[in-house]
């Protein structure tokens, strides 16, 4: 690889985009080292000694990451060098925080989540490698446009037919099989962008051009409203039947963003936001679960008699006690959050033990990952690739906003996992696959076109 790089540098003005695989490797060393040191620090703080599994954890994480890196070198040599290290760092840190919460006796029913999560992370990276190796050209996904759409619908609908468990806090987003549970909504995060990309590729001209102008806005024709109305209805159905605000918003948000990118019409965004607002307003007034969430958001510190504050209040306490620099790893009391402290509320633990500094660092990582995805969309040379990259990146960014905004009390809380960090098998697998697809798009985008080397100025 060194030779490739030096060659790239040597013929810089005319040469192809640097492949940056060595950059990725050195960043990965950092991304693996930071969680291992965090693991050691947590062990020292909580038990006064280095954790027993430290070597195994370090080697395990290191080898996972190395395999992922090797697969990128082999199958996507021109891919963006930042995404894999960021994903690895987030995943590694997530494991440390979950392990730390495993050690809180108060959360014992959920024990031991870290081992499972490590297993799921391994599976996620395996899926990453499979996507790398098997998905020769992402444009083939276009063939599965309607299949993806259908699969997404089925996966979204399935949990509504499964019984709700006591610990699910009202939201029907899980399928419980004995032993473990699946959150099918997570997989939809990849399937929907595939479907929308394929669909909008075909329809974008009709949607963009055939419109009337009114008050400076291009209003869509009545019959072109069809798709948006269908998606809007579906997202409301999810909200009503599965009482899952998060998936509903994510679902609709991805669609509006992709519609906007495909048609370049601001009017669609306005329309979408208006419809979403109306729909949620109506549901919030009729659906007790959603209304409860909004009440808890408005009054997070209101305490039920004899029971203390709710989870958002506890999450705010955790964040507040973290202050600027945090209590130090393993030294907070974020287990007071209780249920879902390791999954949806894991940002509370990050905030308490690493302070606002740690929270901002994690947010920067998410922001960087999303922006690298959007950069990929800019660089992609085909509309399908552009749309897919935008859809996947926006899904990622929206999910982070929905869950982090909920935990910090900025918006009503909805059940969602913090990508890569939170406990949740479905989530971690999906996110690794998502990054793999983005890397494949990036690989093709940064690859010098045959007979037409990229100019340095246009290099992504």
């Amino acid at each position: 690889m060194t030779t490739v790089e030096s060659r790239a540098v040597a013929c810089a003005p005319q040469g192809p985009a640097p492949v940056r695989r060595n950059t990725e490797l050195s960043l990965l060393v950092f991304a693996a080292l930071v969680p291992v040191l965090a693991y050691a620090e947590t062990g020292l703080a909580m038990d006064g000694r280095l954790p027993a599994g430290m070597l195994g954890y370090g080697l395990g994480l290191g080898s996972f990451v190395l395999l992922a890196h090797l697969s990128v070198r082999r199958f996507a040599p021109h891919a963006d060098p930042l995404m894999l290290p960021i994903a690895a760092l987030l995943n590694g840190l997530g494991l440390v925080f979950i392990w730390r919460l495993d050690k809180a006796r108060e959360l014992h029913p959920n024990y031991p989540a870290a081992q499972n999560q490590l297993l799921w992370s391994g599976l996620g990276i395996a899926l990453f490698i499979v996507v790398m190796a098997r998905l020769k050209d992402y444009r083939r996904l276009q063939r599965y446009t309607y299949l993806s759409g259908f699969a997404a619908l089925v996966l979204l609908a399935v949990p509504a037919f499964f019984p709700v468990r006591a610990g699910d806090f009202g939201a029907r987003i899980w399928i419980h099989l004995d032993g473990f549970s699946i959150q099918p909504g997570e997989f939809v995060k990849i399937l929907l962008p595939v479907f929308f990309s394929g669909f909008l590729m075909v329809k974008r001209d009709a949607l963009a051009l055939a419109s009337r102008r009114l008050l400076g806005l291009y209003l869509p024709r009545g019959r072109d409203l069809g798709p948006i109305v269908v998606v809007w209805t579906l997202s409301l159905l999810i909200l009503v039947f599965e009482t899952d605000l998060g998936t509903s918003v994510l679902f609709f948000g991805i669609f509006v963003v992709m519609l906007y990118v495909a048609t370049e019409r601001t009017s669609w965004v306005l329309f979408g936001v208006l419809m979403a607002g109306l729909g949620f307003w109506a549901v919030a007034h009729t659906e007790g679960h959603v209304r409860g969430r909004i009440d808890e958001w408005l009054h997070p510190l209101a305490a039920a008699p004899g029971a203390g504050v709710g989870q958002i209040g506890q999450a705010l306490f955790a964040l507040g006690s973290g202050g600027a620099l945090g209590t130090g790893l393993g030294q907070g009391h974020s287990w007071l959050i209780g249920f879902a402290a390791k999954s949806d509320f894991i940002l509370g633990t990050i905030g308490e033990e690493t302070g606002v500094t740690g929270v901002i660092a994690v947010l920067v990582l998410y922001g960087l990952l999303a922006e690298r995805g959007l950069r990929t969309a800019l660089a992609a040379r085909d509309p399908f690739g552009k749309l897919l990259a935008v859809g996947l990146s926006a899904a990622f960014a929206l999910q982070v906003f929905i869950v982090a905004g909920g935990v910090t009390g900025a918006i009503p809380l909805t059940g969602m996992t913090l990508p890569f960090v939170a406990q949740g098998g479905s989530s971690v697998i999906t996110n690794w696959a998502l990054v793999a697809v983005l890397l494949k798009i990036s690989d093709l985008a940064r690859r010098p076109a045959p007979g037409e080397p990229l100019q340095p100025g246009t290099q992504p």
Partner: protein
């Protein structure tokens, strides 16, 4: 499609930026309010994650920290001789907060006092467990025990002070409670708390500091001081011009009678009047001194002081301002709206014993760090000059006479100079409940001094027998004896 993609990028960046702003808001701006929220258990968890300091009585700790290693709390507070020392220590509970010394001395006991900062920083560096400092009280365990024993089966309070310094030697309230029984969070503790707080006999009320009673005849000491200071009486052994009964001025022939209808109160000398506890003589003297001057006198002895701390806060004793003459007469014999804490009446005895100088009462002798180095030491300070040494001497003479020949004979201690004053204060509408029995006294022997006030609320003893002499004075006597070692 690149233009909308750029806009989407900006939008995603704004989402992340919004989250960052929100994080700063919660973790910066709101942090202190969130940390102080009553529902935030972190403060309490932290407070019980290491041993608190000790509260020390007579060289021994009366507090303990049990290593319980519960789910939330590592340590729990426990008390040695809890009920007896509860009016001093108060409680420190994981579920119900804290009060008294546990509360006001929390900075030292928790080790969070800024004066311990250097030590704490050192401990953090050397990896030593944080530990609270100790609070050394002025309590004499023998005096405390004597008061505690005396009040068994009764209801009331006893306070003993060293008149020369103001150091509080005993602080007893009965019935009491064991603070250990409410120190934890589990349901047993909650049941105990509920039982204690709903008990009609109010075992958690600190009667010595936080309950006020009509002082009755014991207040005549202040009236006597005022009369002597203002020259209404110059010779305590000269007859006063006092009718019996005394008709309250400004009323339609309403008489102020003497309690037992004793003979001997008419035109009695002040000395005799105090020994017999004549209402008529002191009611009239109060009126002659006047409401303004009586108020001033009461305040010199510590009444109407709502900001006194020892360092535990003390409820203010009351002597009304703006009274008419009839009310002044009533107030001058410790009735009407006049109310005093047992500590207040002990201060009256202490001021008289200390030749008129009232020392500020205090409960904490020393604050120490965990390594036993002294952080602060209380030096005795004067609260006021309650009366002149000359008047104080006359009051002492009269109080000695009360114990020798009057209503306080049950407080006599052989070989010790004891002065005292009994009181029987009306209680309830039209005096329909058992009255309060008071005894206020001091004793001097071998350079040691002690002033004591004892109040006994409605005891089971039949009404006629209730008097400071039978119920309260023996308790005071035992406390004084315990201190003087006679």
């Amino acid at each position: 499609m690149n233009k909308p993609i750029r806009r989407v990028s900006v939008f995603c960046m704004l989402l992340v930026l919004a989250l960052m702003i929100r994080a700063n808001w919660v973790q910066g701006l709101d942090a202190s309010a969130l940390n102080a929220n009553v529902h935030n258990k972190r403060t309490v968890i932290e407070a019980y994650s290491y041993p608190r300091g000790d509260i020390i009585v007579g060289g021994n700790s009366v507090t303990k920290d049990l290593l319980v290693n519960g789910n939330f709390y590592k340590y729990r507070r426990a008390y040695v001789n809890g009920p007896m020392y509860a009016p001093i220590t108060g409680y420190s509970s994981q579920a119900f907060g804290s009060n008294l010394l546990e509360n006001v001395e929390d900075p030292i006991l928790s080790g969070n006092d800024p004066r311990l900062f250097f030590r704490n920083a050192l401990d953090t560096l050397t990896g030593k467990q944080k530990q609270g400092g100790d609070v050394v009280t002025t309590i004499d365990p023998k005096v405390q025990q004597a008061g505690w024993d005396g009040l068994q089966g009764k209801k009331g309070a006893a306070v003993a002070i060293d008149p020369s310094t103001g150091a509080i030697l005993g602080l007893v309230s009965f019935p009491s409670y064991d603070p250990t029984s409410i120190a934890g969070v589990t349901s047993d503790f909650a049941t105990n708390w509920k039982k204690l707080t709903s008990d009609p006999s109010q075992p958690m009320l600190n009667r010595a500091l936080r309950a006020t009673y009509p002082p009755g005849s014991t207040f005549k000491l202040i009236t006597a001081a005022a009369a002597l200071e203002t020259g209404k009486v110059t010779d305590i052994d000269a007859p006063t011009d006092s009718p019996d009964p005394y008709i309250l001025p400004g009323t339609n022939n309403v008489p102020l009678p003497n309690e037992t209808g004793d003979t001997g109160c008419k035109n009695a000398t002040m000395n005799t009047a105090l020994a017999l506890s004549c209402n008529t003589v002191f009611g009239k003297l109060g009126v002659e001194v006047g409401p303004q001057r009586m108020l001033q006198e009461a305040q010199k002895f510590g009444f109407n002081n709502s900001s006194m701390t020892i360092p535990v806060g003390v409820t203010a004793s009351n002597f009304d301002a703006n009274m008419n003459l009839a009310q002044t007469a009533q107030s001058s014999i410790g009735q009407f709206d006049t109310r005093a804490t047992p500590l207040q009446m002990a201060m009256v005895a202490a001021a008289i014993c200390n030749n008129g100088t009232l020392m500020k009462p205090y409960l904490v002798a020393e604050e120490r760090s965990a390594s036993n180095s002294v952080i602060s030491q209380t030096s005795p300070t004067q609260l006021s000059q309650a009366t002149t040494p000359d008047v104080a001497a006359k009051l002492q003479t009269m109080m000695v006479n009360v114990v020798k020949n009057g209503t306080g004979t049950t407080a006599q201690i052989p070989g010790v100079e004891v002065g005292g004053k009994t009181g029987t204060a009306q209680h309830g509408v039209n005096n329909d409940q058992n009255p309060y029995a008071w005894f206020v006294s001091w004793a001097k022997s071998g350079g040691k001094q002690i002033a004591v006030a004892v109040v006994v609320e409605d005891s089971d003893t039949s009404r006629g027998d209730i008097s400071g002499m039978h119920l309260a004075a023996p308790i005071a006597k035992n406390m004084m004896q315990a201190y003087l070692g006679k």
